[in-house]
């Protein structure tokens, strides 16, 4: 019994650490990767709470597809930024 509780406590701590990391990291990419790991950790929590349906949905939609969306948008903005920087060299120099 207590070993289950220990596991739950560790999981909760892991989830909180991952969430803090994802939200307050200065680097966007790190934030996104930590968010995906948070999704996976949360999936384990859902299994612990006997919510298998939700766990499957979380791992496919919550972590998987949301993560893909974030990474896709991040990549796009990166390329856009690179493009803009190379075009407006003068502007970046002034910055």
């Amino acid at each position: 019994m207590w070993i289950n509780l220990m596991f739950d406590c560790l999981l909760v701590v892991l989830i909180l650490v991952l969430a803090t990391g994802a939200l307050f990291s200065t680097n966007v990419f790190t934030g996104i990767v930590l968010f995906i790991s948070l999704g996976l950790a949360v999936t384990i929590a859902w299994i612990r709470l006997n919510a298998i349906d939700v766990a499957i949905a979380e791992v496919t939609i919550g972590a998987g597809l949301t993560g893909a969306l974030f990474l896709g948008a991040w990549k796009r903005l990166e390329i856009k930024k690179r493009l803009q920087n190379s075009i407006n060299i003068t502007e970046t120099k002034n910055d």
Binding site: I56, L65, L69, G72, K75, R76, R82
Partner: protein
């Protein structure tokens, strides 16, 4: 309020106040939560008592597609709304983003194995949903994941503005409304399925929903990622 670009000292004070206020609020909520006894568990008994008439044996599917099917109908409407909103931002013909995802031979052979597997798994998810954990959302997400894999390995995609794609986006709602109309003729009640057919009708709706959800999620990914112009590569 949202984009506060103040000087650093002012901003630090603002951040500090927010953190303090929210921590106090959260502390108050946690205190109230720990004081409150567990709620009465009426839903479990109710679901158990009525699940025989719902047509499925998985209680979550029974909730989603029978007892509270109204919520699910509106949720499909939310998805439909997002697909309408995302369509204009999708440049037709996304297959020529070759500068971004280079044709990767190992990835491609992996995808060749993975894609049919994912589709199989999605089909299984859909079918299993009526008696075990699983269902349309999970299956739809898997299918969308399959589409995503195909895009990543640079397999071409047709333009999604055409009539057929649009009917796939609205398919979940169309089938749902058909089922509502059909069962209304039968029971004269909004969203009450005839008991003998309800299992099949639910599967019917879920089948359509899987494709709509998959198509919408895939569309979201494509429009968020965008057709990155070749100019981007050259410029960098």
């Amino acid at each position: 309020m949202i984009n506060a670009h103040d000087s650093t000292s002012l901003k630090n004070r603002y951040v500090f106040i927010i953190i303090m206020a929210i921590s106090m609020l959260a502390g108050c909520v946690i205190y109230a939560l720990l004081q409150t006894p567990a709620p009465q568990n009426i839903m479990y008994d109710l679901v158990q008592a009525n699940i025989q008439q719902s047509g499925v044996t998985n209680p979550v599917t029974a909730i989603l597609l029978n007892f509270r099917a109204y919520d699910t109908l509106l949720e499909f409407a939310v998805f439909f709304c997002v697909s309408i909103a995302s369509l204009p931002y999708l440049d037709a013909g996304v297959s020529d983003s070759s500068d971004l995802e280079t044709q990767d031979a190992p990835l491609f052979s992996l995808v060749k194995v993975l894609a049919p597997l994912t589709i199989l798994l999605a089909g299984y998810m859909l079918w299993v949903g009526s008696f075990k954990p699983g269902g349309a959302f999970q299956a739809g997400a898997l299918l969308a994941g399959c589409g995503l894999l195909l895009t990543l390995s640079n397999v071409g995609v047709t333009r999604m503005n055409g009539f057929w794609w649009r009917s796939i986006f609205s398919m979940s709602l169309i089938f749902f409304i058909l089922v509502i109309g059909f069962s209304y003729l039968h029971s004269h009640t909004f969203l009450m399925y005839p008991t003998t057919l309800s299992g099949r009708l639910i599967l019917f709706v879920e089948f359509a929903a899987t494709f709509s959800i998959a198509a919408t999620l895939y569309l979201c990914y494509l429009s968020v990622r965008g057709k990155v112009s070749q100019g981007a590569h050259r410029a960098s």
